[in-house]
């Protein structure tokens, strides 16, 4: 069982001094993924895009950092079902997160730069929107014997959205 759906997500990038990002609390119903010491990517349902953006802009001291709405730049796909782990295993060299197997990882996915938020019951895969079709096609090809079902776009649903960032779960994987 494998279901794949385009996720309607807001993607906000916060860039600032590491100390400032360390202290940052992601807005409610969003999740923050530390992609670099001075970069934090916040994911939220797209309906919250402007709220989250405004809240983060307020937090990042004007002049010390930069908050950029990257929503249009990312193609986010939510994979669910009992075979969801297979997608990353087939499309990427990123090793699974140690411990619980959940967390945020980044590296090459389907040979393009990508990121993955791995939750208990879903995997959210992200690539640049210029290669979004490619990710969809590769999932369909690499998992064809699992008969993936592609469904209509749906709002990003985060299981563990919490105001506290999950920076302790960040793992960086090597690419293809």
């Amino acid at each position: 069982m494998l279901e794949v759906a385009p996720a309607e997500a807001a993607v906000i990038l916060c860039m600032g001094p590491a100390t400032e990002l360390d202290a940052l609390r992601a807005p409610a119903d969003s999740v923050g993924c530390r992609v670099a010491p001075d970069e934090l990517m916040v994911l939220a349902p797209r309906a919250l895009r402007h709220e989250v953006l405004a809240e983060l802009e307020e937090w990042i001291t004007r002049g010390s950092g930069l908050v950029v709405d990257q929503t249009d730049g990312w193609s986010v796909w939510t994979v669910t079902g009992s075979h969801r782990d297979q997608v990353l295993l087939r499309l990427s060299n990123i090793p699974p997160s140690p411990g619980t197997g959940t967390g945020f990882v980044q590296g090459a996915i389907a040979h393009v730069p990508g990121k993955a938020l791995i939750e208990r019951n879903a995997v959210h895969l992200m690539v640049r929107s210029t290669a979004g079709y490619h990710l969809r096609d590769r999932i369909a090809a690499a998992c064809r014997e699992l008969a993936p079902r592609f469904t209509a776009p749906a709002p990003l649903r985060l299981e563990g959205a919490a105001p506290v960032l999950r920076k302790q779960r960040v793992a960086v994987g090597d690419g293809d």
Binding site: L13, M15, G16, P17, D38, G63, S64, G65, L66, V68, D69, Q70, T71, D72, G73, W74, S82, D85, Q86, L89, R90, L91, S92, N93, P95, P96, G99, G101, A110, H111, V112, R128, S129, T130, A131, Y133, H134, D137, R138, A141, A142, R144, E145, D176
Partner: protein, 917 residues
């Protein structure tokens, strides 16, 4: 009844048949012709090690018939021999062997030199295992690799995955390429014998995740007996563990750093990233070398026992058996129990009394040679009692074992250990299990060095490459006096078996002749341990990746001819380049330029950062304005070009050329880090789309869709504004790449379609048309604008391409400044020039340029300008005598010589009035 098709005839299958057993039962004895001398070859090892039974299964060459399960409908043919493997007209090569020594092609085909290409073609056609199928086969054929009923690849396993190991029969791929799956187990076990399975079980019982890769079906190659019973029980036990994946018919081809074991299964390439690896690939019965050792009817013991014990097939009616150890007796017993008539058993005297039944025993006997032209007719035997000839039609040899250690020898990594017979050939069942358990715990056990065989004096040493003992000797005398040199010169050990048969003999030959053991050491083992298909190497990667803008589907709807532009797919044209060109010059045209690299640069030191990075003055750009600047590397050469918009004091938006985004991002970030400035770089290439609206009616079109003030005073050239167009918030840039009034509308990518449709709809009566690359390249050429990468070389400085005006040499520092200062003191020898051709046509791009007959340059861009009614071009010119030519002649391959004139101003609108309109 299930059947296979063999060279046009149907052959019925029995349960558990391999391709070899089915063919053998049907009377097939010649399975292949040898590589060089076209010797007929029959079944020999029976364990998938030797090259004798390589056949084509469903047109795929290189399948080892003895270990390939037969499956309904397979089409089998022998790949070598013409008109057939039974009767090969080239079989006379054997009689030409004095003229075909090792390396003969280096020796006798050296002169005349012109002969070699022809000889090479003939040799290539004759040699080889079988022709590779022509064209691109449907992957479904590849996916139809033989799978025995009940045998399967296991479900991939992730570390910590608690799910049950689902098992499935492998399915076809339906015409698409092979895919790759990664596994991250604690332990990878290569080999599904008793030692390997013991290691896997031991680790699994400790709660570790395990992947087992077995080249064949587990237990499939074992004759009936305790070993078979044990491994089947181990297999069942393993399958009960939730954290074990068993990959059967899965070939481990190497062990790489990071402990990556690529395993080729019937359906997938499994990339196993393991913390530890246990190599338990077992042992192979040693190849025996004596005159006639490659005759049909000479068998190795394990293969003969398997054929008799599992498939009920006789290796021959009268068999001479030659054994050396306890395992030989087991083999002999299997043959005897299967009802095979053994006419003589040659064994060491110590074992003679252990032989049961009425078999004639020849103590301490050995086979001197085998009689018969192509098939065994008898064996000449030597013993203390003398020499005699024994009539027989098969010779079964069990001369001892050699470790199948190719993988173990190629791994010099910590975390890789051996287990079972690969360490101690013939160690026995319980010892193999014990060593497997120790190996699972990571314990390194030193391999037991097998006794080296006697140096072969005569006979076929390398079955794969047809190398005889006499040829090895002559190669030695020619000076190739180490195992590595002999290997390279004779190609022994380099064939499909990768030395499984001949490697010990290669060492024995050197050991006997050399004073030092250094020269007789094992040769280097490298991946792949077995031949692999190119398709397997490309698993998971056999697809092309094209970047698409958000308007891609719209372009297709409008009938665009898409073409590659770097990594992007972009419209070349929309069906009528001329009409598209005219629209821009006379009305208005729109183009998707979302491929431009787009970046946001901000932070307290953003201005300082850009000031250091670009040769233009950035600090003087006021918010709301923009500036063009080349981007230089440290050598002062043009790397890319940018339009830099100052959004506010600390915030910039800049563009790079299409295709320059990835490199540009790395460049920007590297310098930001190197200078330790408080600056943030965000790649927004995918976030923003961009549409260029250009033409004398561009403002008119935008005014219909926007309430913002767009007149020349409110929004002049070289400025940018945030405006709303058709409800889409855009950052509009007034730039002029095509030489007309232009607005680049940078917009949120997801709203691109809305904006595009609105522009086309609102401008229908204005004659708006979308245009592609063909049009824009001509438009910019009329304006004399360069395309970085097309018109620039790796060493193009701003001065050489006429961009000196964009360099502020009075700035204290910028990347490339020191180099430019040094270069400015040198005479300029090359420059990019604008050249007009009035001869009725424009030369092709790349045409050479001549001045008074001397080659002085070449064209980088060229086209015919409908507006100017002349050819317009950019080209590199070499100075002659300190001056650049002002007139040249271009040599066009079709039009011939076309005179051209070097001009100093843009061809079109040299004052720039139109772009400033």
């Amino acid at each position: 009844m299930a059947s296979i098709e063999f060279e046009g005839r149907r052959i019925a299958l029995e349960d558990g048949d391999s391709v070899a057993s089915a063919l053998y039962r049907d009377g097939v004895r010649t399975f292949s012709r040898s590589f060089k001398f076209r010797r007929p070859r029959g079944l020999y090892c029976g364990t998938g090690d030797c090259p004798n039974c390589l056949v084509c299964v469903d047109d795929e060459p290189g399948a080892r018939a003895c270990v390939t399960p037969a499956a309904q409908g397979q089409k089998i043919r022998r790949g070598s021999g013409w008109p057939s493997a039974d009767r090969d007209v080239l079989g006379f090569f054997w009689y030409l062997r004095p003229f075909l020594p090792v390396g003969f092609y280096y020796k006798i085909l050296k002169r005349p030199r012109w002969l070699w290409p022809y000889a090479e073609r003939v040799i290539r056609r004759i040699a080889g295992l079988a022709p590779v199928p022509g064209g691109r086969r449907a992957a479904a054929e590849v996916g139809a690799a033989p799978i025995a009923p009940g045998c399967s690849e296991g479900t991939p396993l992730a570390s910590g995955d608690g799910g049950p190991p689902e098992r499935r029969i492998v399915a076809d791929h339906g015409g698409q390429g092979r895919e790759a799956i990664r596994h991250y187990p604690d332990l990878c076990v290569i080999g599904g014998g008793p030692g390997g399975l013991a290691a896997a079980l031991s680790a699994a019982e400790r709660g570790e995740s395990v992947v087992v890769a077995e080249e064949h079906g587990i237990g499939e190659l074992l004759p009936p007996g305790p070993a078979l019973t044990t491994v089947m029980a181990q297999r069942e036990a393993l399958l009960r563990h939730r954290n074990v994946a068993v990959l059967e018919r899965a070939l481990a081809v190497g062990i790489y750093d990071g402990l990556l074991v690529p395993v080729i299964g019937p359906q997938f390439l499994h990339l196993v990233y393991a913390k530890r690896v246990v190599v338990a690939t077992g042992a192979v019965e040693r190849h025996a070398v004596f005159p006639g050792n490659d005759r049909i009817g000479v068998w190795l013991g394990r293969g003969a026992a398997r054929m008799a014990g599992r498939h009920g097939l006789e290796p021959g009616e009268n068999v001479v058996f030659a054994g050396s150890d306890g395992e030989s007796l087991e083999t002999l017993e299997v043959l005897r129990a299967a009802g095979i008539r053994v006419v003589a058993a040659l064994v060491p005297e110590a074992l003679a009394t252990s032989i049961q039944g009425d078999i004639r025993t020849i103590s301490d006997g050995s086979i001197v040679r085998v009689l018969g032209r192509t098939r065994v007719k008898g064996a000449e035997v030597e013993s203390p009692a003398g020499r005699e000839t024994v009539a027989c039609d098969a010779v079964v040899l069990s001369p001892g074992l050699t470790a199948r250690d190719g993988l173990l020898r190629q791994s010099r990594h910590s975390g890789v250990v051996g287990a079972g017979e690969v360490l101690a050939p013939g160690c026995g069942l319980s010892a193999a299990i014990d060593s497997g358990r120790l190996a699972a715990a990571g314990e390194w056990m030193e391999p037991v060095e097998s006794p080296m065989p006697a140096c072969p004096k005569s006979g076929m040493v390398c079955l794969c490459e047809d190398v005889q003992a006499s040829e090895m000797d002559s190669a030695w005398r020619e000076g190739f006096q180490s195992t590595e040199l002999l290997k390279r010169y004779t190609t022994a050990t380099m064939g499909p078996c990768q030395g499984a048969m001949c490697h010990p003999h290669l060492r024995a030959i050197v050991a006997e002749r050399s004073d030092s053991p250094i020269w007789s050491g094992p040769t280097t083992a490298r991946p792949p341990a077995r031949p692999v298909r190119l398709e397997d190497l490309a698993a998971g990667s056999r697809h092309s990746l094209e970047l698409r803008t958000s308007l891609h589907e719209r372009h297709l709807t409008l009938g665009a001819r898409m073409e590659w532009a770097g990594a992007w797919k972009r419209p070349g044209d929309f069906g009528d380049s001329r009409a598209e060109y005219d629209a821009v010059r006379r009305a208005v045209g729109i183009m998707d330029i979302g491929t431009l690299g787009k970046f946001r640069v901000g932070g307290p030191d953003a201005t300082e950062f850009l000031e250091r990075l670009y040769p233009s003055s950035i600090g003087r750009v006021r918010p709301g304005r923009l500036r063009y600047s080349p981007m230089l590397n440290e050598a002062g050469y043009i790397l890319d070009e940018s339009v830099i918009c100052r959004l506010d004091d600390q915030d910039y938006y800049l563009t790079l050329t299409s295709g320059g985004a990835e490199r540009g991002e790395a460049w920007l970030r590297d310098w930001a880090e190197a200078w330790a400035l408080r600056v943030y770089v965000v790649n927004q290439t995918a976030t923003y789309g961009a549409i260029n609206v250009a033409g004398p009616l561009a403002r008119e079109l935008l005014t219909r869709l926007s309430d913002d003030d767009l007149d020349a005073e409110s929004f002049p050239y070289a400025h940018h504004r945030h405006i709303s167009v058709a409800g889409v918030q855009c950052l509009a840039l007034r730039v002029g790449f095509v030489g007309e009034l232009s607005y680049e509308l940078h917009h949120p990518a997801l709203e691109g379609v809305v904006l595009w449709d609105a522009l086309l709809g609102a401008g229908a009566d204005l004659g708006v048309k979308p245009h592609g690359l063909d049009t824009v390249l001509l438009l910019r050429l009329e304006k004399g604008h360069i395309v970085v990468g097309q018109d620039t070389d790796f060493d193009s400085t701003p001065a050489k391409v006429g961009l000196s005006w964009a360099v502020r040499s009075d700035k204290p520092a910028f990347v490339g400044k020191v180099a430019l200062e040094r270069l400015s003191g040198l005479p300029q020898e090359r420059r990019l020039a604008m050249i007009r051709f009035t001869g009725g046509r424009a030369p092709v791009e790349g045409a050479q340029l001549f001045d008074c007959g001397a080659l002085v340059g070449y064209l980088t861009s060229s086209g015919w300008s409908p507006t100017l009614d002349c050819g317009v071009a950019l080209g590199w010119l070499q100075s002659r005598g300190g001056a650049f030519p002002t007139t040249i002649v271009a040599r066009d391959p079709v039009a011939g010589e076309l005179p051209g004139e070097v001009v100093s101003e843009p061809f079109y609108d040299p004052e720039g009035a139109r772009i400033r309109a």
